[in-house]
Amino acid sequence: MTMAIPSIACLGVIGRNNNPMHISIFPSQDPITNNFAPIRTPLQFSLILSSTIDVFELRTRHNAISGGGLSGEYGLLQAVDDRLAAYGFETNTGVRFVCVVDMRGRLVDSAAASSKQGLRDAELKPVFRAMQNAYVRLLQNPFYNPDEHAPLGGNGGKKITSKKFVDDMKRIGDGWTPGVVKL
């Protein structure tokens, strides 16, 4: 008997200008055929990421009214349906990390898996920590110009092309399962 556990379906980095800077898509396991395939098309993932900006903005506005936190630690942004959920984290420079979790993305032996259902916000923290570390490493690269990727007062921006960063994202997306503490 197998049971489904969450896995990462998509990792996105959204720039200050609400522009997509990076999107990585990860396959989910099909419970019937056991094949790995992304459960949505890249376009649909783009749409999901773009819709999270709404939630980021709502929270920011809410924080501004209530005098809440400046940034960061948003946790669950929205569940798209009962399978996909988007978690987010905003850095204090306005860069947003979004992690779309497929709640049934992996199949494991139910004996091996803990019978715990659901997912806590805290379980996504290692993901965001790892993403931020990767991003900080990217920023430390003298050839990476953050202003190109989100021009001040402008629109859009370039995407991240650093292979190291892309590899980092892949490592994070593949490596995470609930309960992983360090990526």
């Binding site: 720039g15 200008n17 609400n18 522009n19 997509p20 890249p42 376009l43 783009s46 749409l47 773009s50 819709s51 900006i53 709404d54 939630v55 903005e57 709502l58 506005r61 809410h62 669950l76 942004l77 929205q78 569940a79 798209v80 349906d81 009962d82 399978r83 959920a85 978690y87 979790v101 709640m103 715990k116 259902q117 659901g118 997912l119 806590r120 021009p151 402008g154 629109n155 859009g156 921006g157 370039k158 995407k159």
Partner: protein, 1247 residues
Amino acid sequence: MDGYPLGSLDHNVPYLLVSGLTTSNSELPLQENLKYERKILLKSKLPAAEGADAKALAKYFQLVDEQGKSWAAVGSKTPYRFRIKSVGRTIPLPPRQARLPERTETLESHHILHSPFSPLSSVSSLYPDGLIDAQWVKKHQELVPSVLLCFYTLTTDPTTTTLRDNELKNDIGELKAILAKSGYKTRLAVALIAEPDSTASSLATGLQDRLENIRRGATLDPKSLFYIPPQDSDSELRGVVDSVLTTLYGSAVEYYRDLARHSRKKRSRGIAPPPTVPPTTGTSRTLSIPDWNLRYDFKSGVFAEFRQEYDAAVRFYEQAYGTLLGQDVLDVIPSWSPRWNEARLLSDVISIRCLRVHFWMGMTSLAVKRWQAHRDNIRDFVDRRGHGTANYGWQAWEARWAMVMADLIERIQIPGLTNPSPSVFLPPDRSMMAERISPWEHLHHRGYWYRIAARHLDFRRRLAHSIPDDDRVPPEDPTVKEKFGYDTYLCPKPYEEHPLRGHGVNHSQLIIDCLIKAQTQFQSRNQTRTAAEISIECAKEMASTGSWQDVLSALRPLWEESSFRSGGWVNIAEDFAWLLRRAAVDEGEGDLVVAIDWELMHKTNSGYTQRPNWHYDLSKSLEETTCSSKPEVRISDDQVEAPIVAGWAFMGKESRAGETCVAQLSLKSEAFSNAAPLTFKSLKIEFDGALKPIVLEHLPSEEKSEGKVSLNALTLEEVFDAESGDLPTMLRGHTDLTLAPGNTLVVEMVIALREAGEVTSSTLQLNYSAESFDLSYTMDLGDLRNPAGWYTKGHNAPRYIRAESHMLHVQPRPPKLEIKYLNSSSQYYVSEPIKLRVQLVNGEDESVSAKLDAHLFGKVVPAFTLKANGEEQKVESAEEEARLTEFPIGDLASSSSLDVILTIDPAEEPTSYDLHLRASYHLDSDAATPITQMLPLQLTVVNAFESNYDLNPRLHPDPWPSLFDCDTISSSPDISEDTPTPFKGLSQSWCLMCHFASFALHDLKIVGMELKVLSNLKNARCEIVKQAETPSNGILVAPKTMHEARFDLVTQKVSLDDRHPVPLELGFVIQWQRQVTDDGDDDDDGAAGPINTTTMYAGNYLVLGSEPRVLASASEIDMGKAMRLLLLDITIENPSNHFLTFGLNVEPSDEFAFSGAKQTTVHLLPLSRKALTYRLLPLVRGDFIRPGILVRDKYFQKTLRIIPTEGMKIDKEGLLIWITPMEGEGEEGKEAVEVEDDDDKSGDSEE
């Protein structure tokens, strides 16, 4: 939530039947099969209550009824909730027991009759094996009241009081009896209202007694009789009624508790009651014990809901649900049976009721969990026992199930998710707080649920479309058993869902409805991107039905807003752009088609993907579109991105008005490589600042550049307008404006600048003209972040020139009035008046009025005059600085000139001046703008001559006065003041040797030389006896040559008694003129300039001292025969008042023979002189001889220096006398004397 039987999901609140407030009688809303059953009728003979109060009450009861229908969660503080129905005096109640079926033999008397709503009665639709249906719920909610509230009028007429009261008593008693007989446990309550025209006083008498009397008479308990006195206002009336209802609520709750108790009692019996008549058709199956348990549990749950006891309700519902989905109920029903769907419906109803209760209790996460659990359970069941989940029926139910949740959220008005609330989802409820919950278990707002429903509807359509054709035809014989294998639970049969002929279910409409609902939700929460996303989905749905107008209206705002594109979500933008284009083509929106085509040609780095087999030719854009008129498309870069990157760069940072500058426009195509080349008709570049727009027009050229970059250079012509005046309205040029994909077109332009100021390129307008449309695209040219580079021929990449290459600073027009300095040199000499000739040349295009300022700086500034136009102004000399301001020049016509002469008075010593000439003028056309031109000049004034001087003594020929001759020594006392002083003192003769050289740069001509005595002599005089001679045509002095001038002078003191030496200051005056003057106005170049007089200080000398001196003088005597005798006179002068004795000694020499005293002593009286003559016969010729003569003062034992006069010289060893050579020999020797003379005497000033 439509589709579920009416009443099955109603919110159950106690049912109150009000009688006697209206006269109308209504039928019982019974099901068809029960219509003909015996009904129970309660009748009362008394008239209905009338009056304003009665009407107000009826109205209020309606209001309470409405509130009772609401699903909104209410707090426990609400005193009562009722569903109230008002009937007349006839009160119908549903049959308590069903009749026996007619054909049943009546012989068997043991038939037990059951309620017509029970599956045991054959009249029921549930008979024989149905579980439970909405009819039962309806029975309790709408047919059988918990409380029957009868209104009567209490009469106030004292005469009929007793009679009426008795009537009342009887009536109530009858009602009560009938009710008791009916078997319903409905509570009876009576409310009395006063007669409409009663007064408070009339009522007051014995009222309490009467009420008590009536109550007793009708055997009512005290809580069931109410008296409603007349009230002043509606609100007071309502207050009274509220209290009545609150009391009744308690008994109603009791009523439902009794029913629930009864139900539980039956459950606990543990037997399945047999039906009245055993079933004879079908499977003959009857309900088993678990089925009955399910019924009882469900009933208990509903009764708990009636009582608003949520915990109990959930408990019973869950129990019923567990039984239903357990092994014994749903599992044993065959899926082909209609009972299967009924059971599924029941499971849905129970689940919905559960969800509702959860929501009421605020268990939002639990509700979602319950929602998911039900879906999973049913899926499991359908997969296992039903038709599987891979058909449209299942998807239809999934969609329905999601919609149920959305509807629940809406109807219950869950706090935190109502519309103005900003939250997207609710935090986990308190029951789940500590648990790990999945993200979806945070209850999201309705929009999300609608979206899920829409997605399932989409799946449903897909599955419906895959129904094989055979199943899409309705069966010809309706009696033939329908095909199984389709899940038709709450959805149409396959031939209705997607019929082969005709229209089936309009899936698209369903989806669109769903999406629009979702979009409203997202929009109201400012989730604009999500709303936009749904709009796209919606539009795709509309496109599938071909309603392009709707697609257009849905997508056009998104396109125009372009938040996806500007944010860089290019794939999203691209996705709907093609869709929009298709819609625009269909709707004939030519401008939109062109705009989209224009944008979609653009391949950004990770942007639009190339559509295979697409022409990418802008000119073909409107081939398929039919437009009413030729579209003129005007778009700009804030609406639509261009497949072109434009750049503008000025080559230099600065320029001047009136000059030209070079600039480049670069257009880089970012179109797909297979796109057709774009040929613009024209383009227009606009500027901020002082530059008119540039218009480039297309001029086809034959040459095709091979490289990626084609560079065209051109000069722009200025286009003038009648109104524009002097300035051009625009600049125009012609070049080839064809841009192939991937190439760069660079146009290099030479622009004439006319105005001063900052110029910034602002916009570029590209005009494209095709047969079917005109496109004009405006884009920004002043992008600060990406300065345009400079293209050079042969290089494909631009070169960075500077950060703000799109800006140019045009400096004001330079002054064109020139100040020319006409003099050839700026070297001037002391004592010379400086005459500067300056010319003002008007280089402006028009006449100007000018003024001239002259500033002269120096240590000492002499006076100067400025002369022009016959006017003259003089400035006095000053220290440091002298200025002449605003010398009027007047009008100067264009390209005319004016000479100005500045004359500076002679300087007395070498110096240098700085001269600033500043012409300030203005154009006649523009008097407000002053223009200034300045000419700085440095003038150096040097000495034209340098000289040195030597004053040599000579022997004065006149005899000295003798002390023994009084005439010569004493001045006559009678000399008056007026007569010139007779000079009686000693005279001395001197010769000033003056060696001078010209330090000028040019030849100078000396026209005169003069020696002047500068000092004011007292008691002495000095006479220049012989000036140096100057030839009549002067001496031409070349630069750097030495010249000599000699002056003889005689000095004499006034008195012999005067012993003091006389200081003598001498000045050497040269009068000279320039050979060539700078004066350009003189026609003859060779004319000499004015004669200048330079006085040079020739030194200060002491003469006529009182020391004795020895003068040697020689003269030759020609003796003939080539013999020359030299007479050497040694003259010793004693100007002192002492008697002096000198010893004279002559040494013999090889060089000459001499006669005279070889050794002698000379005595000199005071003021006397004596000469000793030697005759020398030189033995050498053409050489110096050195007569060794020694003169010694005998007294002081001091050797006196012998002072040479003409033809002699002296060195350290003594006197030297030149012996002239004989004729024919030694000419050089003579010259040598002079040279050596020079050397010796000018030794200290030799330069």
